[in-house]
Symmetry: C2
Subunit: 367 residues, 2 copies
């Protein structure tokens, strides 16, 4: 008899789910390359020239494992964020950090609180740890801080997830509102604040809370404004006890040497970040104009994408999306009602947005 492996109890109950169908997978399904890639909130403005140089320089050294403590990069992050080395852990993108954090806190059956329609990969990791998701609806296209707090008390959850600025709506709360939320949450509940888009948000969007505060962990990434999505690196800021706990289970050499070098170059090129912020504002305005011209409403955005209310229901927005995709233009949309009345378009250079504008016009003409 050949029986094959016996899986862990939890694993046997999980579907083999993929939280996101990647752009290349979609291209293969469609049978052609995208003419514009505006669906994954990547930074089409590219990485900084300094990053490209750092990568080329690092190419000869890839035979060496990376520094498992990533001292140079973590020191630079500490300096830029006004924290200490003990407040910082790196990971394979925020996705990797989310998976590790969930495993640190969640036992099978534990409740976890998030917003209905928020980042699917967070929910994926919660299910992989056996956690039970409790979702709170958005209110006026923003995550509802009051409802999240109420649900946290009701479930006595260990963990609340909030993205600020938010994906997929592009909305945000100011730091003072987050701080007030923190004071209203149960004191033994950890607030996981996903700040992936913070570099593109107004000043004051991050709460003014000491990194040593044990109630909060912030996660940030080099995948968005810094343009390093293809390298997979992010970091978490939290109290030293929680940061040390990552060392119990994380892949210690998971963030490689070349990636550390590239992220350090990105972090120190503040001119490039200013350039990307400026280009992002121009592109948001252009996307607002395109929405207008087609009878859609562009929602305010503190991110590198603009979510457009198509003015009808989810079925209509799905048709719009399908027609735009049909023309080789990659965009996405929120998954659940009522958010799914919208489509979501990443910012990018004028040429890419012009392709989208033409595709949207054609799509609506056909519908």
């Amino acid at each position: 008899m050949v029986a094959g492996p016996r899986y862990a109890a939890l694993i046997a109950s999980l579907p083999a789910s993929v939280p996101f169908v990647g752009p290349e997978v979609q291209e293969r399904r469609q049978g052609g390359s995208f003419r514009a890639r505006l669906g994954a909130n990547e930074s089409i403005f590219g990485p900084s020239p300094a990053v490209r140089e750092a990568i080329t320089r690092a190419a000869a050294d890839v035979w060496m494992y990376g520094d498992s403590e990533a001292l140079a990069l973590r020191s630079a992050i500490a300096e830029q964020t006004g924290t200490t080395l003990d407040n910082i852990v790196l990971g394979e993108g925020i996705d990797g950090l989310l998976g590790t954090l969930v495993r640190l806190l969640i036992d099978p059956g534990d409740p976890v609180v998030t917003s209905l329609g928020a980042y699917p990969t967070f929910g994926y990791h919660v299910r992989a740890a056996g956690g039970v998701l409790h979702n709170v609806p958005y209110r006026a296209d923003r995550e509802d801080l009051t409802a999240l707090c109420a649900k946290a008390w009701e479930t006595r959850t260990k963990l609340v997830y909030l993205s600020n600025p938010d994906n997929p709506m592009g909305s945000w709360h100011d730091g003072a509102a987050i701080l007030a939320m923190l004071d209203r949450l149960p004191p033994d509940c950890l607030l996981l604040l996903d700040e992936a888009y913070l570099d593109l948000a107004p000043d004051g969007t991050s709460p003014d809370v000491a990194a040593d505060d044990p109630r909060l962990i912030r996660m940030r990434t080099f995948s968005k404004a810094h343009g390093l999505a293809g390298l997979r690196i992010g970091y978490a800021l939290a109290a030293p006890d929680l940061i040390r706990a990552f060392d119990k289970i994380r892949n210690h050499f998971g963030v490689g040497r070349l990636v550390q070098a590239a992220a350090l170059a990105a972090l120190t090129d503040t001119d490039w970040l200013a350039h990307v912020r400026s280009e992002t504002q121009i592109a948001r305005a252009r996307l607002g104009q395109i929405a207008d011209e087609n009878g859609f409403v562009a929602l305010p955005s503190a991110t590198n994408f603009v979510t457009m209310d198509c003015g009808r229901d989810g079925d209509f927005a799905r048709k719009v999306l399908a027609e735009v995709m049909q023309q080789g233009v990659f965009i996405r949309m929120p998954a659940v009602a009522p958010l799914d009345r919208c489509i979501r378009v990443s910012v990018g250079p004028k040429a890419d947005l012009d392709i989208f504008a033409a595709a949207l016009k054609d799509a609506l003409a056909r519908l």
Copy 2:
């Protein structure tokens, strides 16, 4: 009251352990750079020139997430290994794949079988999943296949770990012996075969078993012969059911775009691999000569390192290692008796081995 996070039950019981103290961490502790880096079994011969070109080319594209299905790379692996796409999953080095596999199989309290002194990172991941390690001693400096089988039946384990060729001893079994072991294991026990060093081993070291066989999973890496340790990429070959199970919990975008491109370039540059194999043989011979000259015995090696029996006990070998390290030469040694009568030295170019030879001679003169 500010309480801070509540950890999962298992996590609270784990130490914040680091399975390996990295070279940079050791350099900082010693207060200086290593003159020769011969302790981490990296490929000092470097990556192929084609890899360096691929990395430079990929630098402009790092703003894009990698293909989550890694179709181009997995297709090349399938072709080279005579398997299909359904047999292959990529991960952030073998370390990353080990962690995911252990989580797929092991419930808290489950027994796991390995050799006493084998790869510490495997044990680290087992503890992180709540598994209980059952260790079998080496026999004549090789992992003991018969004893591993007996322990598997005794514990009715779900999982046996075997590295072949072996780290830290450099020894190996031929593929026929592994195949015979597979037939003697409980049929519902998975054999995890870590083939990190396979590229440097004699032909026939890997068992001739179909990739669809549900009793076996093989893990391979680009960190050793291919010289990509600093990029973190490895892959697993197994039956489609098991490969699909990885999709339940893995970080789907964890292996980035640039890393995929570099690994593809490495895989297709078979000339470079032949060069590294040839240099490795020369270096092994040189290390054998150095051992001889100092009254040590070089053990036979099918890897990119040579383990040298210092001829006395662990305390003596630890003194040798400390004296060599004192001179800025990074080497390592096995952690447990009786293997710890040895030191372990990675292969490398002549200049590096000459530095080691001089350091060893000085070390022994002082002892």
